[in-house]
Symmetry: C2
Subunit: 433 residues, 2 copies
């Protein structure tokens, strides 16, 4: 039986799981790959750090150049944390004639065009199923299985950490900070969770999906985004009272005016599939003109589910399937025809949840609702729980609007937040029915 030598660069949690799969499931993996898959090198600059998997002796090395110079190794799993290191390593791997498999969505969102362009130039491929929605085959679904369809929309939960925190807040009535600390304890959130809870990670993944599904070449920083770090336990409770659950949604939706893209905590109607996505799970809901609605659900975070996607991509690469996808399906084209303009975010319409802290005194309600009315925003419902008369306190006021535009609601909220009766910390969230 032919032997295929492969390597891992970046021996952290996902790297250890990929090594474990390759060594423990080797019979099965070799059967699918049609050749014996041999893990020949594992490269990391830190040889001392304790790992949760013990490699056979002699496999772990800090000699990247040795790997680059080994012509027998044709496919490498690049699982380095830092996007900058990953970029320079990936460039070197491609230049030395190796196919690359990566799980790093920041790498692709930041440097995708450069890397894919080099890969095409040198006749190699980059596989990246693991970079979006972990173990869920979302990349394959969009770029391989639904090719007969014009994709109309994608609604997705793509950040396991954020979804875990929101689930904790909802199920255990935890405050945001306590839920974040628990996510960190469980190993879901980094010590610096800004990219997760600020929506950046989700925006990077959405940029990748938008590229695949709509051919939209968009810088992830330009996608309007709000993270879950603005959501309080109060909001989770009001949402529940109104029949909704709060989820960090990534949205890509094709309209006649262009492609709508945004990431934001959103009130999702209880009982719908997206609302039922709990804990560290991810989900991707895709609508295609022929297939209708497809819903994919699975573990989006976690080392083993990510390694599952990495190793399946490795097999795909070794048997030559991925080279064909990469070349013919023109994944991540360097030059994208500007057929899909981005829609002006201010024009995107929808319903909104507004939560204000306001003085509990006469005229407050009329001032706020008057300001909404001046922007032609009509009110669907109001929650103001009963308070003691003359308590002179600050009370939460929740308003659900009818359909309006992002531009109108932003314009209305500007003066409202400056009213003397309105205290800092107002929040608006999108509503999905």
């Amino acid at each position: 039986m032919e032997v295929a030598k492969v390597a891992i660069v970046g021996y952290g949690g996902v790297g250890a799981c990929a090594a474990r799969l390759l060594l423990n499931n080797s019979e099965r993996i070799s059967r699918f790959a049609g050749r014996r898959v041999e893990l020949a090198r594992v490269v990391d600059c830190d040889l001392k750090r304790p790992r949760n998997f013990t490699l056979p002796p002699g496999l772990l090395t800090d000699d990247l150049d040795g790997l680059l110079a080994d012509p027998e190794i044709t496919a490498v799993m690049e699982l380095v944390d830092s996007a900058e290191s990953a970029r320079s390593i990936t460039l070197k791997l491609l230049e030395s004639g190796k196919d690359v498999i990566t799980a790093n969505q920041t790498l692709l969102a930041e440097h995708g065009t450069e890397l894919f362009s080099l890969a095409r130039q040198v006749g190699r491929s980059i596989a990246f199923e693991a970079a979006v929605a972990g173990g869920i085959p979302a990349v394959a679904a969009i770029s391989e299985c639904l090719t007969a369809n014009r994709i109309e929309s994608i609604h997705a939960i793509l950040n396991g950490t954020s979804n875990f925190i929101l689930s904790q807040m909802e199920e255990n009535e935890s405050e945001y900070e306590a839920a974040l600390a628990e996510a960190q304890q469980c190993g879901y959130a980094d010590a610096n969770p800004a990219l997760d809870v600020g929506g950046g990670d989700t925006a990077q993944k959405l940029a990748i999906l938008a590229h695949l599904a709509f051919g939209a070449s968009v810088d992830w920083r330009e996608i309007p985004r709000v993270g879950i770090n603005v959501v309080g336990l109060d909001d989770v409770r009001y949402a529940r009272e109104l029949g909704y659950t709060i989820k960090l949604l990534a949205v890509a939706e094709l309209a006649p005016e262009g492609l709508e893209l945004h990431v934001s905590p959103t009130l999702v109607r209880q009982g719908t599939p997206l609302a039922e996505v709990r804990g560290a799970y991810n989900a991707v809901r895709i609508v295609g003109d022929a297939v209708g609605r497809i819903f994919l659900h699975g573990l989006g975070a976690g080392q083993m589910p990510t390694a599952s996607a990495v190793v399946s991509d490795l097999i795909d690469t070794l048997i030559g399937r991925h080279a064909i996808s990469f070349r013919t399906l023109n994944l991540w084209p360097t030059e994208v025809a500007p057929t899909v303009p981005l829609r002006n975010p201010a024009d995107v319409t929808g319903r909104y949840y507004l939560r204000l802290y306001a003085d509990d005194r006469p005229n407050v309600m009329s001032e706020i609702t008057g300001a909404l009315g001046r922007h032609n925003i009509s009110i669907s419902s109001v929650i103001k729980h009963e308070t003691e008369e003359g308590s002179d306190s600050v009370v939460p006021l929740v308003i659900m609007t009818h359909r309006t535009s992002e531009g109108s609601i932003a314009a209305a909220m500007k003066p409202i937040s400056q009213f003397g009766c309105v205290h800092p910390g107002s929040l608006r969230m999108r509503v999905r029915d």
Copy 2:
């Protein structure tokens, strides 16, 4: 740009939708296929029947031999209804050097080994994503995206007609016959729905999935199966009262003793993803050792979702990806190592729902529960609604058991159904918590 000539054999509903996609989305499909995809011939023995799509003149023909003799046509979508005709046409297509794409699960379940063996012999491929779960990429998920995993279980809803009927019974309190008539009116159920409502269609699809996921070569007729035609509106109501929804489940589960396979109407706990699958939707829940639980949901019936899978398979075939899957992933091997023995169905354990019609008189309950006790079956709950004393009527009695084996429950039900106090028409269903 290179041109790829393709053809359709069998111009029914799915054929018309596939033609519509190829002609209306041709720019998009050609881009993905890396060549201009030209629908060169549509073959059907009936040229007169009205269709919901009008082909350009000259395309429709009843000349199958002309197609077989045309060397320029390299890939053919075989969409003939009858499995027998489909078999002989597929053999001819393969022999004349054409790759085949099919949506016919009966064809594969009945003649898979013969067809796949011939395809290998002549160096052609057969693609069949559309044959299981329509538009859901279940075949790709199992055979291409989860190759790093040892699959542990599959639980699936694979028959849109049965699920539609069960949903109608539940949501509209329809009797079975009325719901079936509605399914026929909506075009979901055939005039002869026996294969759908008897569980045969689901068993055929389960046999295909078991082949892909577990390498289990099993005749679909040998899979223990019960259809939904035994379920009454009463059962739907009792299930709801107990916190369950009835679904026709296909189950493949790996145990140390072997592979458990069966198809049966099953009480599924309300609120779980499988319970929420409504109408003509299908769903596939897969557990892999690395990826954990993956849940795929989408339209399983319907001409357009099926055509979506057929045309995506066509693209996969034209660009050469499917040939690699077919060859290297060894889809549907002719010789399967008997590594996965089938588990004796009598040994499979689980909870059961029993519904009996019994005389409303003393000693009945004790006779029935005594018979269960003699087979060591312990009772979890009983529903016997209050009746007027001395009414001397026949009343429904519902018993939920604790975990027992299929063998024990079958052995206990045999004497119970012969008790004088028990009337014909008893039902037992599996329970999934």
